[in-house]
């Protein structure tokens, strides 16, 4: 870990590391925010994951269920983490680019099933 608290790594490294789901919850306040922005959301919340490296990598994001398609989607909101992605030369990509690339990376990862299961278990 760097002195500024960021864990620096390349996005390509993430695919080799196992993500562990911590918890997922619905968030009524966030749902209200999305609806106020006219996002067609039936429900919304957040999901937290980590990778058991030392120090642990922490990544979280907001999701919403599209009211028409019933699909669970990444919310129009930043993916949040303690990671600073770096390029091939080792330069910081910056917080915004890091969040954006995480968003793109998550599109190739079937997190929705895990989150839906966790939410269903919470309701039971």
């Amino acid at each position: 870990m760097s002195p500024d608290g960021y864990i620096r790594l390349r996005l390509s490294s993430l695919s080799m590391l196992p993500f562990v789901h911590l918890f997922s919850e619905s968030d009524a306040d966030f749902l209200r925010e999305l609806r106020a922005q006219t996002v067609p959301a039936r429900s919304a919340g957040f999901s937290e994951w980590k990778i058991d490296t030392n120090p642990p990598i922490s990544i979280g994001w907001s999701w919403f269920v599209h009211s028409e398609s019933d699909r669970m989607l990444l919310a129009p909101d930043a993916v949040r983490s303690n990671v600073m992605l770096i390029d091939m030369q080792g330069y910081d990509l910056g917080p915004q680019k890091t969040s954006s690339l995480f968003g793109a990376w998550l599109n190739g990862f079937e997190w929705q099933r895990v989150v839906s299961t966790a939410l269903a278990e919470t309701l039971n």
Partner: protein, 278 residues
């Protein structure tokens, strides 16, 4: 700084009665009625803003006892009654071991003086909330201890009066801007805070450079995490703080027009701040 600037204004510029009490009253622009720049007043360039909300900054020992009590009562209303946090209570007031004579507070107040926002700042070179209670939120249980890191805690920007017209987003931004500014003036380059997860989303939405220090954990069933707030160009720009730690103006008007229409700075709905541009 502000007291000196007002004294300069008193010497030549109409519309102002007296300087505020030193060390306690820093009105900040949040919902500007009008604002502008006076090019020259007694040879000093001044920036004038009208506000409907005030910000108060000071250490506990600098604030009036009644204000300290009002702050503790406000914190009780928000953190205990409204949010349900299991916090220590003394005579109906929310105080803990980190509230002492040297604790630095930032408050926003309604035009009638009622508190509508609060924040607490502590240097990490002495015991603070994260170091003593929540060190496990930092990997390796190693909370920061540095002269350039301050802790921001008990942050709430919420009105108590249901009839309040204070805009919540403006209140939040003003409170955070004042907190960042005053911490930076005391040498902070970063803030650390223990917060509910929703705060992280709020900070990102505001454009503040904030990032988590480690994975969130559940406390009383609610996820909390340790969050870094970098006091860098990104954060300063997001909060409208110039590198010299003055807040920026949104609009500019001619100073002459402003001076003839400014009411008494302390009375009524408006409070006037004059910041000295050096």
């Amino acid at each position: 700084m502000d007291a000196q600037a007002l004294a300069v204004a008193d010497n030549g510029c109409p519309g102002f009665s007296r300087a505020p009490d030193a060390g306690t009253n820093y009105p900040l622009s949040t919902l500007p009625v009008s604002q502008g720049r006076l090019q020259r007043c007694n040879g000093v360039e001044l920036t004038i803003r009208l506000t409907t909300m005030q910000t108060i900054i000071g250490k506990s020992r600098e604030l009036a006892p009644s204000l300290n009590d009002a702050l503790a009562q406000y914190r009780h209303k928000i953190f205990i009654e409204r949010l349900g946090w299991p916090l220590p209570v003394v005579n109906g007031m929310e105080v803990d071991q980190f509230d002492h004579s040297d604790t630095l507070y930032v408050m926003t107040t309604e035009p009638d003086g009622a508190i509508c926002g609060c924040a607490r700042l502590l240097p990490t070179t002495e015991p603070y909330l994260l170091s003593e209670i929540f060190a496990h939120l930092i990997p390796g249980d190693m909370p920061p201890r540095s002269h350039d890191v301050w802790e921001l805690s008990r942050f709430a920007a919420a009105t108590v009066d249901p009839a309040s017209t204070i805009d919540a987003a403006c209140n939040t931004r003003s409170l955070l801007a004042a907190s960042v500014r005053i911490a930076a003036e005391r040498g902070a380059k970063r803030l650390i805070t223990v917060s509910p997860l929703g705060i992280e989303r709020l900070l990102h939405r505001m454009g503040v450079h904030a990032h988590r220090a480690g994975p969130p954990m559940l406390a009383d069933g609610k996820p909390i995490f340790a969050c870094w707030i970098e006091i860098d160009d990104q954060t300063l720009n997001a909060l409208g703080i110039r590198p010299d730690h003055q807040t920026e103006e949104a609009d500019e008007e001619t100073a002459d027009n402003l001076l003839t229409s400014i009411p008494s700075p302390i009375a009524g709905q408006a409070a006037v701040q004059i910041a000295k541009d050096l």
